[in-house]
Symmetry: C4
Subunit: 192 residues, 4 copies
Amino acid sequence: MGKGRLEAFSDGVLAIIITIMVLELKVPHDPTMAALEKLWPVFLSYVLSFVYVGIYWNNHHHMLHAGAKVSGGVLWANLHLLFWLSLFPFATGWMGENHFAPLPTALYGVVLLMAAIAYYILQQRIVAANGPQSVLATALGSDWKGKASPVVYVVAIAVAPFSHWIANALYVLVALVWLVPDRRIERRLTGG
Amino acid sequence: MGKGRLEAFSDGVLAIIITIMVLELKVPHDPTMAALEKLWPVFLSYVLSFVYVGIYWNNHHHMLHAGAKVSGGVLWANLHLLFWLSLFPFATGWMGENHFAPLPTALYGVVLLMAAIAYYILQQRIVAANGPQSVLATALGSDWKGKASPVVYVVAIAVAPFSHWIANALYVLVALVWLVPDRRIERRLTGG
Amino acid sequence: MGKGRLEAFSDGVLAIIITIMVLELKVPHDPTMAALEKLWPVFLSYVLSFVYVGIYWNNHHHMLHAGAKVSGGVLWANLHLLFWLSLFPFATGWMGENHFAPLPTALYGVVLLMAAIAYYILQQRIVAANGPQSVLATALGSDWKGKASPVVYVVAIAVAPFSHWIANALYVLVALVWLVPDRRIERRLTGG
Amino acid sequence: MGKGRLEAFSDGVLAIIITIMVLELKVPHDPTMAALEKLWPVFLSYVLSFVYVGIYWNNHHHMLHAGAKVSGGVLWANLHLLFWLSLFPFATGWMGENHFAPLPTALYGVVLLMAAIAYYILQQRIVAANGPQSVLATALGSDWKGKASPVVYVVAIAVAPFSHWIANALYVLVALVWLVPDRRIERRLTGG
């Protein structure tokens, strides 16, 4: 079964998620600097989420490029991932509007955590559909980033009630680690 | 005539429907657990509709994969299906915001029913365009799920004024039955 | 130059226009039949516009299928068409919310008229890029539908201040005439 | 690595940006000419931004058509461009609603400037990935439009507090210059 339509549908959903998030940046009524300054936290939370969705799109792109075959289970694992990503605009908006308050920060972490788990499940499904000798399976290697991220999210969620700044710093940290695209797969595909 | 653009357009509409539904989950103003808890019914109705749109996307994907030829009638039957699916965000939001009250629950069933009928018409059109010996025609077999679902929706609509919980349980039941992708077509395509 | 991306972009914009129009169907707060009945005119205007966007998508699909080559002028003529189509949600919402009042009905006609003119320009550009012997050029023939529609829109706009019902009936009439896909092109492509 | 998905994702985001901008054109409640006239500045700012997004889509299309290879750096440079373009609806809405007041006009220029810089970076990345002998590299030539535009934006931002009309006239001027598609690349591809 072709993966083209799976990619197209995922691209569509991710493109809309990114663009809908920006709607939380509501147009202020008066043309003053003060009105603009109030949007600062919403803007920051938008930047963070934009980077996260970008990371997911990038890695999703690499993963499907490496894994050629798509099964029925892969389709649903992909929809499961898209479900959690579709909650990004809500979690981002709530956190931004409340200036990174503890509870919204914790909920943001929960959505990040569930998306990370969903991504892991999808990865396993694709490996299962393509066999343990496939490019993807050998390219993944230890997958330390995929394993460490959920742990950091759990720590951040637990820390949020006490210091939401540490929690948010952890989200930024994970994003920075992932910003480097998955070179492992890229190297396998091009080099050998 | 190519089916690529039909798939692309349908994917686009389905992707936007899914993502627009989540806008009903309005960002609350205060960062409290109480504010979050109020969103519970809207969230549940979103999950149900997300699964339904996922099922439609999945089956649509399988159906078009099996039926190669596309006629002018297929294009319009497809738009007809997309029309009813485009009412999902409205029906979902009304049901969620009113805590699954009888009338919104019945209307949700009407939209499900019309979408199911539209899907059936589309399926007939594709079979007609591809001939009775096509992969799709033989793969469909008895199509008991496609025939039973509208009946269950009608029962749910009739039951909604008396017990909206039974009606909603029926919607969940149909979704669970469909969650299993259409193995018949998949088997035909891969096996023999 | 490839036309794949032109089709993909147009599909994206048309898919979003269709789905954004449904947002004018605002979810009412109370779960009563009275609340639902108030939405009747908005729903009707949505159905009309959905059919119109469907017609444009359908004909756009046929036209680009027949015309293989795409020039820079075609890209901009296409964006010009998308611009007028992007005003459908606004014109539809205004007409629906005001129960098909004269002025919104006239504006709806203006948007229909401008879109029809933009479609005609696009068609000319594609014919120019593909030559007078191309499939599209010969398939178009007299193009009486394309020529009559703008005339009817002008009549409807002029009539709207006196009878908005006649104006709206004219819009419905044109939609019905177009609902039959462009068989001329289809016949040329398949038969000869 | 294929560029198909990069194009599809960019098309999706650009299509949504264009269509979301039109949502700032809020449907007025009464069906009068006075209500429509109030929307004039919002409509004008929408037209300007539609043309700008159209220019970006057009040039993006040409650039990727000419540059065949896509690296990880190109993916992120592309997301960076999409980030700034995603702020168009916000900047457009703020400027339109405030009748092209100085501060919103200056912010609009900042977003234009950042998008232009992001486009330049993306162009450099694609040239780097395809080598100095590639079609794109030789086709770009002096790239005077790409170099002059940011300068004009900076001037417009500086001028905005004193005369927002001059600033807006400069934005219109740059748009008009770009409306001519990048013939250089087109000529190279077709002619030689």
